[in-house]
Subunit: 200 residues, 2 copies
């Protein structure tokens, strides 16, 4: 009914996250009917991104250069390496501004049932990165889910007896969290990991 | 922090309807990190759509050919012309399957305060289309909003005294509409336009 090339575009747009048939059609109409300039910008930026963005050979984050700007930044703290499981987690930590060391990005988390083992998430590349003699502390910043915890404990056992300290993100009550609405696990954990109040 | 080409892609994706900064970032990550094949498909289909999709010279709908498949279909009812204000309205009527005539697509509705007059919505092209001697009825299918009504009544006065009948979509209680939740205007209208019950 509508032109076949329009339908093909609608079908292609459905690969975007949480875009269904109706939304894809609205997007395609917007691009072809009302905002051809925007559509051309998407084509050119997406083409450039696809051809020029690869992975940083040190941390595996997206980068246009063989080594990403963060890994290339000599001002950061060489003693700390933070291991994250996704680029969004990497971004979240970097945007918090609380970490000055370097990162290593796993390609996801261990999930043996889905056939995702250490090799699939890039543990071999991590081993190479860990050879860096400057590293004094490795921070396991995988998420607090079952798979994230499994990944962290696998890495922890793998690094047992190594010369650097291994740490894990603290768990507890989030900022602004009302105890009343917090799940029991988190509350129990926060209680067990309670800190003595000091005067500093 | 992330590569500049990635940020440019995120900015470009924000031209899509109801896509903000967070969603655009998620889309860009999906395209570059996880689904490069999908990204390449978007580039190729969007490029093809931009270069090959124009407007039908008879009805102004999107078309890859000078005359769209509907206008080129000689089997449809030449006596009826349905005037719609957007491609989505056009699609909605066509998908209902209740109309077998031809369409004419206005580029929006009259909105004098925004400087959108008859020429901007393509009334001159409509005049050319209305020269077709086969037309017996013109159906004004603009939306039931203030601007839609204004557009319909402008067109109606423009066509006053012409050889064809001019009609308007019926207004009233929608299918499945509970009277209790219907607005007063619609209810009053439905009451005023009440139909005698016949036995056919």
């Amino acid at each position: 009914m509508l032109s076949p090339k329009f339908s093909e575009l609608v079908r292609a747009l459905r690969c975007l996250p949480s875009v269904g048939a109706k939304t894809a059609q609205r997007m395609a109409l917007q691009l072809i009917e009302r905002d051809r300039q925007g559509a051309e910008l998407i084509v050119s930026t997406l083409t450039a991104a696809l051809s020029d963005i690869g992975r940083c050979e040190r941390c595996q984050a997206l980068s246009e250069t063989p080594v990403c700007p963060i890994c290339a930044d000599e001002q950061r703290d060489h003693a700390q390496l933070c291991i994250v499981e996704s680029l969004t987690d990497w971004l979240a930590i970097e945007q918090s501004g609380a970490f000055q060391g370097y990162y290593f990005l796993l390609s996801g988390r261990l999930s043996p049932l889905d056939g995702i083992g250490p090799r699939e998430i890039g543990v071999d590349r991590l081993m190479v990165r860990l050879d860096d003699p400057a590293i004094e502390e490795v921070i396991l910043a995988t998420s607090a889910t079952i798979e994230g915890e499994a990944t962290a404990s696998y890495l922890q056992s793998m690094m047992a007896g190594s010369r650097y300290r291994v740490s894990r993100l603290a768990q507890g009550v989030p900022m602004g969290g009302e105890l009343e609405y917090l799940d029991g696990h988190t509350l129990a954990l926060a209680l067990r990991s309670r800190r003595p109040i000091t005067d500093d």
